[in-house]
Subunit: 209 residues, 2 copies
């Protein structure tokens, strides 16, 4: 029997997506859950409710708290943490490349590399040179990957994923979906999401037996 | 030596404050931490950023998710959960009474009674009759308590607390403050807040030794 699947929706500009991305593989492995890595853009979802930047910029009190909380939570997980400048970073090209990487097996590794560059080292993840370096370090042909990432077909695909995110009720990142469409939002809900996937699958298997 | 203290700031309309209020005493006891129960109103803080209702009403996608998450989290804690109608409830009078109760030892029990009436039974917590019943059940003279709660002095005191909340950077509820002013937001951060208080106290005691 196949392992139950959890969808992991993440946005490269999102601080808490960084924490989730760096720990999700080990957590899923331990729970016996397979992952579907789903890069997407929050920008259009925020824009639809009239926001032109991150809510952490729009609401400074919440923003100040988030930066402090990220410091604490990153330290807890043993992760480096650098506050990107500017924030939010433009993750469009990185998301297009990550989408492509999903087809070729290097999506998760590329995703972690981007987050580490952004939040662990303070590098500019909108810069094709930076992204090319990350790809090269992963043994991926950077020139070819960038070319394919920028094709109309790949751009359209990312746009469709954005529409899917919106229609499924995503309002922030990271967001997790169980097989029965149960939704969990935030790095703090990763464990709950994994538990749900496992117990939901067990429930359905009971019926089959 | 006195036990380290955690400040627990809560708003009666707040769903996640309900979860925190119902479990904080046991959690603090286990951690060896004393609690300062601090009822306050979020309304003026929201109003200052142009919001006239709960963000869960202003941002319907987030609101829909919150109700589902509350169902799950309440079930996890073995708590009943009823979605108040209207939401948010007006917790002004309840907060004034809770403030008074803090001086007389029945603040925490009254707080739990209000949250249970609101989120466990769907009762209207702006209704003085409901609040009187809760007070009577706690053995408190309801007529006298309501009278004292509505004095100018008590009203002013609650207003000052709102100003304190704003000046200390509170933007939501529940919020916890450690003795060194470290801030933690949300029911999900209660454990972190308790750990912080305990380890901060241990750190400072080391220096004294």
């Amino acid at each position: 029997m196949h392992r139950p699947v959890l969808e992991f929706w993440y946005e490269f500009a999102s601080t808490y997506s960084y924490l989730a991305a760096m720990r999700i593989e080990a957590a899923a492995e331990e729970a016996g859950v397979a992952l579907l890595w789903r890069p997407f853009l929050l920008g259009p979802i925020f824009a639809a409710q009239g926001w032109t930047t991150s809510p952490f910029n729009l609401f400074p009190g919440k923003g100040r708290y988030m930066w402090r909380d990220m410091e604490r939570e990153a330290a807890r997980l043993g992760l480096p943490f650098y506050r990107p400048d500017p924030f939010p970073q433009n993750g469009l090209l990185a998301a297009r490349i990550a989408l492509l990487g999903g087809d070729h097996g290097w999506g998760p590794a590329f995703t972690r590399a981007v987050y580490t560059a952004e939040f662990g080292q303070g590098r500019d993840i909108s810069d094709p040179v930076v992204l090319s370096e990350l790809l090269t370090e992963l043994g991926v042909d950077a020139t070819s990957a960038l070319e394919k990432a920028e094709t109309d077909a790949n751009k359209t695909r990312l746009r469709r994923i954005g529409e899917e995110a919106q229609s499924r009720g995503i309002f922030g990142a990271p967001t997790f979906f169980a097989e029965d469409s149960e939704m969990f939002w935030g790095n703090d809900r990763l464990e709950r999401a994994l538990e749900w996937v496992v117990s939901d699958r067990a429930r359905r298997t009971d019926f089959v037996v």
